[in-house]
């Protein structure tokens, strides 16, 4: 019989401390399960959008029921990304009993629009909550019901409450004030505005901050101002294209799994799905997120200065037919991607060198 002997309180906090230091490993365990979902959903969505005409109203599926179906399947696979990421981050920390709270927390992150960063928070929360509950001394006769009943119920309640009340509600307020702030910004210096838009688009790759910038650009199209969406459209594709390019340029710096994710990211970038960059950002947020923000900002500024206008509420090279000043648009994307690819590979080379020296 395997018995986990109850430990005194001092050991728990020491164990938890060790866990916090291991956060990167937990993120990677979540990412490794999430990558196939991103790849599957992204490729299906990319294929569907690529095979229908691009119009000023976005991709037009009215004459292509088959591609609409492919799009819908891809969208479902994609929507599982955040729950799977959160679920398996929790799994990495607390093993099987962590799965329920992780998946529930991740699904709530989807629902409240907290994006993949919300999913990471949910996964870590769920993992630590369950890890802690598992350490509680429990009478022998209760032990069988702990992992299938008590732990899932208590941990889902705790994580769900935190995700809805503490994370979900403020996100709504923050999005509203960000939108208002952008509206004010848009009357000022357009280069500063482009830097802000590009950074926001890249920051959480389809999460709330990204959506604020995107919806702002889309709303401006209706006002007859195509330049805002033009700056967003370039920024949208730069994180996945730039990171995909990085895996091609610096093969040795990336694992085989990451190189596969790189090809999927390139495909998603081509049709304007920023989420293709998420596997990279979730695995190494501290290096990747600032890098892609810089790259997207560069792309947005060049697009703004080059007079790029985008008539469709969509981004990436796929919208080229409905873009004004196409050459400037392509230059903006290429420049942003180069910034991302060169910077992230330099950072990784530096980190690898430092690790080698320390070893």
């Amino acid at each position: 019989m395997t018995t986990s002997t109850p430990r005194p309180a001092g050991r728990w906090s020491a164990l938890l401390g060790a866990h916090l230091a291991d956060t990167r490993r937990y993120l990677l365990s979540g990412v490794s399960y999430a990558i196939p979902f991103v790849a599957c959903g992204g490729i299906l969505i990319a294929a569907a959008i690529a095979f229908v005409p691009m119009t000023p109203a976005g991709p037009d599926f009215s004459g292509a029921p088959f591609w609409k179906l492919v799009l819908d399947i891809g969208t479902v696979a994609f929507s599982l990304l955040v729950p799977v990421l959160a679920g398996y981050i929790a799994f990495g920390i607390a093993d099987r009993p962590g799965l329920v709270a992780g998946f529930v927390g991740g699904a709530i992150a989807n629902q409240v629009g907290a994006g993949f960063l919300g999913g990471i928070v949910a996964g870590l929360l769920a993992g630590f909550v369950v890890f802690w509950i598992k350490k509680l001394p429990v009478p022998r006769y209760l032990r069988p019901v702990m992992p299938i009943l008590v732990i899932p119920v208590i941990s889902s309640l705790a994580v769900g409450f935190l995700m809805f009340a503490v994370i979900g509600a403020p996100i709504k307020d923050a999005m509203a004030s960000l939108s208002a702030w952008l509206a004010v910004m848009s009357t000022g210096n357009r280069i500063v505005l482009a830097v802000v838009l590009g950074s926001m688009i890249a920051f959480d790759m389809g999460g709330p901050v990204n959506k604020v910038a995107f919806f702002f650009g889309a709303a401006m199209i209706k006002e007859g101002n195509f330049a805002i969406m033009g700056a967003c459209a370039a920024a949208i594709c730069i994180p996945p294209l730039g990171l995909g390019l990085a895996t091609v340029l610096g093969r040795r710096l990336w694992s085989e799994e990451e190189r596969d994710a790189g090809w999927a990211a390139l495909a998603m970038g081509m049709i304007g799905i920023t989420e293709g960059a998420i596997p990279f950002a979730a695995a190494d947020p501290v290096r990747v997120i600032p890098t892609i923000m810089a790259g997207s900002a560069v792309g947005s500024v060049i697009a703004m200065l080059g007079g790029v206008g985008d008539h469709a509420p969509h981004g990436g090279p796929i919208v080229l037919p409905v873009v004004d000043n196409r050459l400037a648009y392509l230059v903006a994307i290429a420049a942003g991607c180069l910034v991302v690819a060169l910077a992230i590979n330099a950072l990784r080379r530096f980190a690898a060198g430092r690790a080698a020296r320390e070893a």
């Binding site: 099987r96 009993p97 702990m146 299938i148």
Partner: protein
Amino acid sequence: MRIVAVTACPTGIAHTYMAAAQLEKAARRLGHEIKVETQGAMGIENQLSASDIAQADLVVLAAGIAVRERERFAGKRIVEVPVQDAIKDPDRVLSASGA
């Protein structure tokens, strides 16, 4: 003889642990050393270390579901039985395995 074993059942709350206890008892009775890893609803407990596995003469997998991290046992002599057999007649599981 040194034995390592993994037990796992679909629900992971009772049979996994019963099989583990039975295998431990039987091994002791027959004079073998055994370490049993359980893969139940709590996840992996009493995990087999690399050296446990390296030193083992025999690997017994008593499972009703796929055993996690099975690649650890590559190259070892592996005997697979239904988890029920390990509960009902652990002695026979071990002796039929050549232990």
